[in-house]
């Protein structure tokens, strides 16, 4: 098939699936998930074909595969949108296609396809389980199928469409289109169980927090479009002459160059979408959505899209950078990224909810990538984006499997416990061996367990990039964050899988169905092997055995940039120490936790524990300084004071003035004249009293008089004008 067909097929297949499910197949669950799976499958195949073509094309960076269409007429020219497969989009397409397909398959099991309909399930609430009567008499509780099963597959299909569309886009406008549609889908999916207050609130919070970033990003897009006349990556961001001009033009804002200003505006979009500080608050709450959604949004697709944007705009952000001092925009990125990495790692340390730990860990890892971009380690950031997508999708789906197992246990034991709280788990390795082993692989990859996991290679490259570029503060912050990452990951694994069960539910948990386990195994495979594509040439012993394909391939997108790899062994030693040290400490501290014990960190950390636990109070702070004033501004200031009191007051005042004028005219002109007449006397009195009574009825009637006055005045004016011009016959 031609490139054009294949590349359009990738986003369109899930879009068609969405349309079919919404319009036709939604009453039938099986048909709906098959429609979605076929859509995702077609995208997957087309993506793989294009990926293979991409990696076998010589000089893909210089001559990428592309196609463009006229989309919007602008004066004498057209704004074109099209598709582009260059090295960055090829590798992104690879991991997106894999993770999306796995998540689709997993969802079939997660939403209990084939199980009976629940006893009291209703749309908008998670399934509560069904009672099965057994032949011998007696009954048992089993999980029930999701009441809105088809809707889920429709929405994730639309989500997949948006993500694929974003990845294959050749310009910032269609990227933005995909970006926003994804945001909408995430809103719908986080609020999938909209009957729950918490889910509803989380959905709105996610949409509005990211929208803060999006409106800045929109300004960045129109600014870039105005400045360069195009939004195409290659024309606007790949042309050294254009970048040179942008880098040397003063924007007039805070001493930034135009490139810097536009770069930062666009980067604020990333801050929102990739949940970076200070717009990170939506992501942990987004855990209200079903787990496959968490995996989609927090690993494979949406949050990755934010980093993907930053990778795309890297030429703009780094315009004028010669490998020495970072540009202002890069400094902003480095600071935000490194700070977020450490900041959210500290929160992850103390969360009891298995998914929330992962959520904060995601924020932290995305911070890594942003920091890497900030210090100029372009390839390392992309590399970590790919490896992280695999192992974090794996961890989320693994945690979903754990929760599923726990929910099963809860149905059985009828305990009133939160099936997501890790302190109620323990010992699950025996009950859920596949989940345990795959989760262990994912967790070790996240911790950067040396040599065998993908996370080690990508994280090491980032540390090495930060160190090599001489950005010691970033290096130390990231190293510290890596230590915490290993620690809280091992805490999670220990609490969940090791030791003895700490609840009846955990005792009765059992392994998930194969339809959920197979995706875990596939993702675990990539969580290990994806790292082998980017083993640095200079790595002791292993370097050079497998060529550093990733570096060559992705690095070629960016011509002539200095890529730092440290000559020193210090970063390598650091990453070994922090990962192994963190894992060991995590195991030491948490291996002995018994039922009912508090978190062992609670005492030693003291006040800090509470700070971490309550997420630094940022939600409360925003509520007090932003949300409440905004509501006041809307309800009280704009509506009641400005519109109702002042503007309507003026209008009503004019109305009253006109009424007064009318009264004067009536009392001192009409009445004497009308009253002067014989027959007219009584009629006049009656009429005027009628009118006066009407006037006292309410201010509404007052306007009538004004209207009449105006008509009279207008008529007079016209007459005068015509007489003046001598045109009246």
């Amino acid at each position: 098939m031609t490139f054009e067909t294949l590349v359009w097929l990738i986003p369109l297949a899930p879009l068609v699936a969405f349309g079919l499910i919404v319009l036709f197949t939604h009453p039938r669950r099986g048909l709906s998930h098959w429609t979605a799976l076929v859509g995702a499958g077609v995208s997957f195949l087309a993506s793989m074909i294009l990926f293979v073509r991409a990696i076998t094309t010589e000089g893909l960076a210089e001559n990428p595969m592309q196609v463009a269409l006229n989309w919007l007429p602008t004066g004498n020219t057209w704004l074109k949108i099209g598709a582009l497969i260059d090295p960055v989009s090829a590798v992104t397409l690879f991991f997106v296609a894999w993770t999306v397909l796995m998540i689709f398959i997993y969802s079939v099991g997660y939403h209990n396809f084939g199980q009976p309909v629940g006893d009291h399930d209703q749309p908008g609430l998670p399934p509560h389980g069904a009672t099965l009567r057994e032949k011998k008499g007696g009954s048992r509780r089993v999980p029930s199928v999701e009441p809105m099963y088809s809707r889920f597959f429709a929405l994730i299909s639309l989500f997949a469409f948006a993500m694929f569309f974003l990845v294959i886009s050749d310009n910032l406008l269609s990227l933005y289109i995909g970006w926003e549609i994804m945001g909408f889908c995430s809103y719908m999916l986080i609020g999938f169980w909209y009957g729950k207050k918490s889910a509803r609130d989380a959905a709105v919070k996610a949409f509005l927090t990211t929208r803060v970033g999006d409106v800045f990003m929109l300004l960045g897009i129109v600014g870039l479009y105005s400045a360069t006349g195009t939004l195409n990556y290659r024309a606007a961001l790949g042309d050294p002459a254009v970048l040179e001009r942008l880098a040397t033009t003063d924007s007039g804002v805070l001493g930034l160059s135009l490139a810097g200003l536009l770069g930062i505006l666009l980067f604020i979009g990333t801050i929102g979408k990739s949940a970076q500080f200070p717009l990170h608050i939506w992501l942990p709450d987004a855990m209200e959505g079903p787990t496959p959604v968490s995996a989609m949004i927090h690993a494979a697709t949406m949050v990755s899209a934010g980093v993907y944007l930053s990778i795309r705009i890297f030429p703009l952000v780094s315009a004028g950078w010669d490998g020495g001092t970072l540009t202002q925009a890069m400094q902003v990125m480095a600071f935000i990224g490194a700070f977020t990495a450490l900041f959210s790692a500290t929160i992850a340390l103390v969360q009891p909810d298995i998914k929330r730990v992962l959520a904060y860990s995601t924020i932290s890892q995305l911070g890594y990538m942003i920091a890497a971009l900030g210090v100029g380690a372009y390839v390392a950031a992309t590399f970590h984006l790919v490896t992280h997508a695999f192992f974090k999708a794996l961890l989320f789906l693994g945690s979903g499997s754990v929760i599923h197992g726990m929910e099963h246990g809860v149905l059985h034991s009828r305990e009133e416990i939160d099936p997501q709280n890790m302190f109620h788990m323990g010992g699950l390795r025996k009950k859920m061996p596949f989940t345990f082993w795959t989760f262990l692989i994912g967790g070790f990859a996240l911790s950067g367990f040396p040599l065998v996991t993908a996370g080690f290679w990508s994280k090491d490259e980032i540390l090495s990039g930060a160190f090599g570029g001489g950005n010691l503060a970033v290096f130390i912050t990231l190293a510290l964050a890596a230590l915490l990452t290993a620690f809280y990951t091992m805490r999670q694994i220990t609490l969940t899988f090791l030791g003895e069960p700490r609840s009846k539910a955990a005792e009765h948990a059992h392994e998930s169905r194969p339809v959920m386990i197979v995706p875990l195994i596939v993702l675990a495979f990539f969580a290990v092997t994806a790292g082998w594509a980017g083993i640095p040439q200079k790595f002791p012993l292993l370097g050079g055995i497998i060529p550093n394909w990733f570096d060559e391939f992705v690095g070629s997108t960016l011509r002539g940039e200095a890529l730092h790899t440290a000559e020193s062994y210090l970063p390598l030693i650091t990453s070994l120490v922090v990962s192994l040290g963190g894992l060991y400490l995590g195991w030491r501290v948490y291996r002995g936790v018994q039922k009912g014990h508090p978190d062992p960190l609670e005492k030693p950390l003291g006040f800090l524990y509470r700070v971490f636990y309550y997420k630094y109070g940022i939600d409360e702070l925003y509520q007090a300084v932003l949300v409440k004033p905004a509501v006041w501004l809307a309800e009280v200031f704009t509506y009641r004071i400005l519109d109702r009191l002042i503007l309507d007051g003026i209008v009503d005042g004019i109305g009253k003035g006109a009424v007064w004028l009318g009264m004067v005219v009536r009392n001192y002109f009409d009445k004497p004249v009308v009253n002067g007449g014989g027959d007219g006397l009584s009629r006049g009195v009656r009429r005027s009293s009628e009118v006066l009574r009407l006037l006292q009825n309410g201010r509404v009637q007052y306007y009538m008089v004004l209207t009449l006055t105006m008509v009279v005045l207008a008529g007079a004016l016209i007459t005068v004008l015509f007489i003046q011009s001598g045109r009246l016959p």
Binding site: L72, L173, G698
Partner: protein, 506 residues
């Protein structure tokens, strides 16, 4: 037959609704079904003819096409002169599309069906006349014709506070009309013609008036005429701070009245700016463009905030119009300052498209509010909650239309907002940046409505007391949804027509 059709296409479209209104006059007022169906079917004919108009219109051809001209009021040189350019054509399509939909939406009106339908059809003629007129006096006449039926529609078929709302509506618009009349007469007297194409040539560069007006200097006359026009149109758009009639009128009007009010009547003001103010007063427009942009920015921000502060679903949607029309004004202000540059062109394209788009989704939103009001008999957002579980189809449609109005890319609202923002950014950088606050609140109030109506725990009061959207209502909303999707996905077909017209104007 075909020849006659082609030669008088505009007249046919314009007066068929009036003829239909006359036909209705002779039907007995008790024959409710016949009245409804006659109104609907006859309103579909102008729609069909406008589609023919669209198909025969040559975007690359002359500025005004399908021109018709006949002597009307020779004593003062005013002619019956019609014609459409790409901009007016778009508005004509919008009007002839929304009218049958509004009539179909009114099938549940029980009181005074005959008068109601007649008023609607007369309203259509009034609105179409404004878009088609190429004569200033004719423009004014149709402007007024469109005003009166709406007053009665609000006054007779409106909600509880309909008296206050209808009078406020007529007062504000009459105040504006006064300005329009004044400016029209001044121009007519000074130049001795009302012919728009001729005025476009002579008025901007006029130095020696044809007739003297009270001995006023020409510059003064021009300034007065300019401001008179601006105020007339600003009230109609409405530009902040002339907007307070809008929430009352929209909220109290019957559902179909709100659809037309928001869908078409607001566009008359913006159309006046584009058709008369910008081309006739290029110098003055340029001079005061900054102020207009500032007011647009205020409308965007305060309209968004105002909508966010509402607890009445319909009022919220009404305020959203102020917010959305602000982008139209921002686009017009940009074109006023930047003229024929690329920025000005894109901004004006965006403004016209935003007019069309707002016509689609605001009519859709008002209709959907009407659908739920018919069932629940309340518009209080706090009285709903969790209705998505009971009304999955209605809920999904509401989300769809809300997202179009929110400016979700992939649906129509985004395209026009993007174009306006793109055009305005290099010209009014600060105003554009500040209007992003309004764009943020667009998201906030839209989600607030969905949050209160559809999401959250189900309000058990409604269980068994509220029914799903019915077939007739689906027929009303479906064409709007299709257009929202098509324009969002592939805007070129309509923007191309607008773009060429804009290119010819400036």
């Amino acid at each position: 037959m075909m020849e006659f059709l082609t030669a008088h296409l505009l007249t046919l479209i314009l007066f068929l609704p009036t003829v239909a209104a006359l036909v209705l006059l002779f039907l007995p007022s008790t024959a409710v079904r016949a009245l409804r169906w006659t109104a609907l079917v006859t309103s579909l004919i102008p729609l069909g003819l406008s589609l023919l108009l669209w198909q025969r219109f040559n975007p690359g051809g002359e500025l005004f096409q399908f021109v018709e001209r006949a002597a009307w009021y020779p004593a003062i040189h005013s002619d019956y002169h019609l014609g459409v350019d790409g901009i007016a054509l778009t508005m004509v399509i919008l009007t002839t599309l929304l009218t049958p939909l509004a009539i179909l939406a009114s099938f549940n009106v029980q009181q005074g069906v005959k008068a109601y339908m007649i008023l609607f059809l007369l309203l259509e003629t009034g609105m179409l006349g404004v878009f088609m007129s190429l004569d200033l006096l004719l423009f004014f006449v149709f402007w007024e014709v469109g005003l009166v039926p709406m007053y009665f529609l609000i006054h007779q078929w409106g909600g509880e506070k309909r008296h206050y709302a209808s009078l406020k509506f007529i007062l504000f618009t009459m105040g504006g009309s006064l300005g329009l009349l004044l400016a029209t007469q001044m121009i007519g007297v000074v130049t001795g013609t009302y012919d728009l194409p001729r005025l476009l040539q002579i008025w901007p560069g006029l130095t020696t008036p044809e007739n003297n007006l009270f001995g006023l200097p020409l510059a003064t006359v021009k300034t007065i005429a300019f401001w008179a026009f601006v105020i007339a149109f600003a009230v109609k758009v409405p530009v902040w701070p002339f907007h307070t009639w809008l929430p009352d009128a929209h909220t109290e009007a019957p559902t179909a009245g709100s659809m037309i009010l928001a869908g078409v009547l607001l566009k008359l003001g913006a159309f006046g700016f584009i058709r008369l103010v910008l081309p006739l007063f290029p110098v003055e427009s340029q001079l005061y463009a900054g102020w207009l942009a500032a007011l647009a920015c205020l409308a965007i921000i305060l309209g968004g905030l105002g909508a966010f502060g509402q607890d009445d679903f319909k009022r919220l949607v009404a305020y959203s119009s102020i917010n959305h029309m602000g982008f139209v004004v921002l686009g017009i202000a940009t074109a006023a300052l930047a003229g024929a540059s690329l920025d000005g062109t894109i901004a004006l394209n965006g403004a016209v498209l935003q007019m069309f788009n707002h016509g689609l989704y605001s009519a859709g939103m008002f209709f959907l509010v009407g659908v739920i009001y018919d069932r629940a008999h309340t518009r209080d957002l706090n009285a709903f909650g969790g209705l998505y579980a009971l009304l999955p189809v209605y809920g999904s449609i509401l989300i769809f239309v809300s997202m179009a109005s929110l400016g979700l890319p992939g649906l129509n609202g985004f395209v026009s907002e993007f174009m306006v923002v793109r055009g305005a950014w290099p010209v009014f950088t600060l105003a554009t940046a500040l209007s992003m606050i309004g764009l943020f609140f667009t998201g906030a109030y839209t989600l607030k409505a969905l949050w209160k109506v559809l999401h959250g725990p189900l309000n058990q009061n409604w269980k068994g007391h509220i029914s799903e959207i019915n077939g007739r209502e689906l027929v009303v909303i479906a064409p709007l949804m299709v257009l929202m999707l098509v324009i969002g996905f592939w805007p070129a077909w309509i923007v191309d027509v607008i773009n060429r017209a804009v290119g010819l104007w400036f």
